[in-house]
């Protein structure tokens, strides 16, 4: 297994507020890492530091052997091509239909021909079960459909890794399943994934490794069995007892 993402002593400070206090971790190719923990623990900030949407205050973020923290914006654009990201609030381009959402970046960033970009896009829409919606505008889709389109959009760039920032938190409960199903399929296809989520069932079934984050630190790391069945850290125990009691 090759090393895809490596984080060393990563910190992030907003004004006086220390959100990340020195994170270390490695994501190997083909791994699914699920990051759990209480709200405000720094999970989303950590994820956004991985593709430098958020600039780390100190520490290193390496992707496929390159340290990203010293790169220019232009060099970062090239790196971000290979790191897909899915947001809590979907962020589909509201001025474009579904197909254009998928083909925009391949055309503009990779200079793909229209026909090629479209064929690829339709394949991906079939994969997420939304080929019939290619001409629809985002505001006419349900939240679950929008998030599936957003996943397909990220996949259209053929990324090496996919980052998920609480992808089901903004969804109505009945739509959570369809999005998790797509993510599960993606994992079984061998995609490398880092997922921030509150879906404990998904974490237990899909993750290779679960990272528990609290107070800007990774308090505990382990296989799903270790974390969910035999948590060592008091804070992990406390968090899980609250979440699982619901």
């Amino acid at each position: 297994m090759t090393e895809m993402l490596k984080v060393e002593n990563l910190t992030k400070t907003f004004g006086e507020n220390k959100v990340l206090r020195g994170i270390d971790g490695t994501v190997n190719s083909g791994q699914v890492i699920v990051v759990i923990g209480p709200s405000g623990g720094g999970k989303s900030t950590f994820l956004r530091c991985l593709n430098l949407l958020e600039k780390p205050t100190s520490g290193k973020v390496s992707f496929e052997g390159t340290d990203l923290t010293g790169l220019s914006e232009k060099a970062l654009d090239d790196i971000r091509e290979k790191m897909g990201m899915v947001f809590q609030s979907f962020n589909l381009f509201s001025n474009m239909n579904v197909l254009d959402n998928l083909t925009l970046a391949p055309k503009r960033v990779k200079n793909e021909a229209e026909a090629k970009a479209q064929t690829h896009a339709i394949e991906l829409l079939e994969k997420v079960g939304l080929a019939d919606k290619k001409a629809a505008y985002p505001d006419s889709l349900s939240g679950g459909q929008q998030q599936r389109v957003a996943i397909a959009r990220a996949l259209a760039m053929d990324p090496d890794v996919m980052l998920f920032d609480e992808p089901t938190s903004a969804l109505d409960p009945e739509m959570v399943g369809e999005v998790l199903k797509v993510m599960q399929d993606l994992a079984s296809d061998g995609m490398t994934m880092v997922v921030v989520t509150h879906e404990m069932g998904f974490a237990r079934q899909v993750a290779n490794e679960v990272w528990f984050m609290d107070g800007g630190n990774i308090a505990e790391k382990g296989t799903p069995e270790q974390i969910f069945d035999h948590p060592q850290n008091e804070r992990t125990k406390d968090f899980l007892s609250k979440v699982l009691a619901q």
């Binding site: 609030s89 381009f93 509201s94 001025n95 925009l104 970046a105 503009r108």
Partner: protein, 492 residues
């Protein structure tokens, strides 16, 4: 980092101070006159420019001659005689009475003939010719009230109207102590106030009073009975300071006019024009006046909108820029323009910038001022539009490897345009209305023409109603068109 910020703040503060000092300096520059070449200059130019406020029949007013609007009246004929004697052509510039002396000082005009009385105060800033006409002062009242009043002292505790900046205002202030004064720029507005019972009388020169009484059966006039001294009874021509050679030459023409009693003749022919003006006071008869006004109003607005959108986009980009040397000038410009009245900006461009550029045409100055003003508002609209596109849209684009510029072009701006379209349309419509302010520097827009029709027909309300309806038709049509475009855009 903190130190650097402070340094920038100081820099900006001092830049601001320099700007204010510069504006202040403009106000104190007095043109240097090494030698009096006023006469020579006119002869070299081959034209003498007369400034006047043509709302004061029979001295000066607008009438239609062969279908064209023309300034006529006694003062115009006096000026024609002067031009003839100098062997040069006469050009007439129209503007508000209040702006006339400024126009002289800034050399927008060479002489002012506008029924102006050479008071001591005025003599401090301009030179005067010999008086060429002596008039008595009267008070115009409503006909049915005529028996109530004898002279100026009958108005104690009541309100009389005066033209702002006029000799009559001065006299009323000094000699009608117990009377309230209401000052308005236009005599036509004063007449309207009188007829609608807002004031009880109007202090005016006798010739003016007679003209209105003759043309409006609801009016009458009485002798004001002011205590007048010396030159204050006469009407004279104003020139820029240090124009002795020109003044002397003009005085010779005036002597000739006085010797031949030509003013009497001039008044009679002015009376003829006034009679033809009032023969047909139907608003349809004056449609060419309004048509010209509509044309100018639309032209000013259209040019200002185009320039405003181009400059506004630049200023919005500037304000959104993270670079301080672009960001702060844009912020300063926008805040300064939005924090000062359009009227003052128009006057500043015409008179202030006009000190550096003598022959700045009023139309050009008006359009520039309105466009620069609009740019500041458009900039804020565009910035608001860009700001209102959720940051998630940019983040999504960036996460796909698109550059910031690419994300702006393909994702943010198309969405911003949709958001700002209604506000931009509103700005366009309000510009049609606000551009009316250029009438103060004599641009013949709809408002200016409305004044002209009022002066020509002695009718106060009808022209206002016509102009109001015209404005409404224009803005209503435009807002329908813009709505349609907006709906079409939402469907796309």
């Amino acid at each position: 980092m903190l130190r650097r910020k402070n340094y920038f703040k100081q820099l900006l503060l001092s830049l601001g101070l320099v700007l204010f000092a510069f504006i202040g300096l403009l106000g104190t520059i007095t043109p240097v006159h090494a030698a009096d070449n006023s006469l020579q200059r006119i002869k070299q130019k081959g034209v003498i420019v007369m400034g006047t406020s043509p709302d004061y029949p029979p001295y000066e007013f607008i009438t239609k001659v062969n279908g064209k609007n023309k300034v006529v009246g006694m003062d115009v004929q006096v000026a024609q005689q002067i031009a003839k004697d100098l062997g040069v052509k006469l050009e007439i510039k129209q503007m508000d009475f209040d702006s006339l002396l400024v126009a002289l000082e800034t050399h927008k005009v060479d002489m002012v003939l506008s029924a102006m009385t050479p008071t001591e105060t005025r003599k401090q800033s301009v030179d005067f010719s010999e008086p060429y006409y002596h008039a008595r002062q009267s008070i115009i009242v409503r006909k049915q009230d005529k028996r109530l009043y004898k002279n100026k002292d009958s108005f104690k505790g009541k309100t009389v109207g005066v033209q702002t900046g006029s000799l009559q205002q001065n006299l009323a202030n000094k000699q009608m102590k117990g009377t309230k004064k209401k000052g308005l720029t236009k005599v036509t507005d004063l007449i309207l106030s009188l007829e609608t019972n807002k004031i009880e009388g109007i202090v005016a020169e006798d010739a003016v009073a007679q003209a209105y009484v003759a043309n409006d059966s609801r009016l009458a006039s009485i002798d004001a009975g002011f205590d007048l001294g010396g030159d204050e009874t006469g009407t004279a021509i104003a020139f820029a300071k240090h124009s002795d050679s020109l003044v002397n030459q003009v005085n010779q023409s005036l002597d000739k006019i006085k010797a031949k009693h030509l003013t009497k003749q001039y008044l009679a022919s002015a009376g003829k024009y006034m009679a033809t003006n009032t023969q047909n006071v139907s608003m349809f008869h004056y449609w060419t006046y309004f048509a010209k006004g509509i044309g100018y109003t639309l032209l000013i607005t259209a040019i200002a909108v185009v320039i405003g959108i181009i400059l506004g986009t630049l200023f919005a980009m500037g304000r959104l820029s993270k670079r301080t040397f672009i960001h702060y000038p844009a912020v300063w410009y926008i805040e300064f323009v939005r924090g000062t009245p359009l009227m003052i900006q128009v006057m500043f461009v015409y008179f202030g910038v006009g000190m550096l550029w003598n022959n700045i045409p009023a139309f050009f100055a008006g359009v520039v001022a309105v466009a620069l003003n609009s740019a500041a508002y458009v900039a804020e609209i565009i910035r608001g539009g860009i700001d209102s596109v959720p940051t998630g849209q940019v983040e999504a684009a960036r996460s796909l490897g698109m550059s910031h510029r690419d994300a702006m072009q393909t994702v943010v701006l198309p969405q911003a345009v949709k958001i700002i379209w209604p506000s931009l349309g509103n700005e366009f419509i309000s510009l049609i209305k606000e551009s009316s302010i250029v009438s103060i520097i004599g641009v013949t827009d709809l408002i200016y023409q409305l004044r002209a029709v009022q002066a020509a027909t002695y009718r106060g309300v009808a022209p206002i109603a016509v102009a109001m309806i015209i404005y409404f038709i224009i803005t209503f049509t435009l807002s329908r068109i813009l709505n349609r475009a907006e709906r079409k855009m939402q469907h796309d």
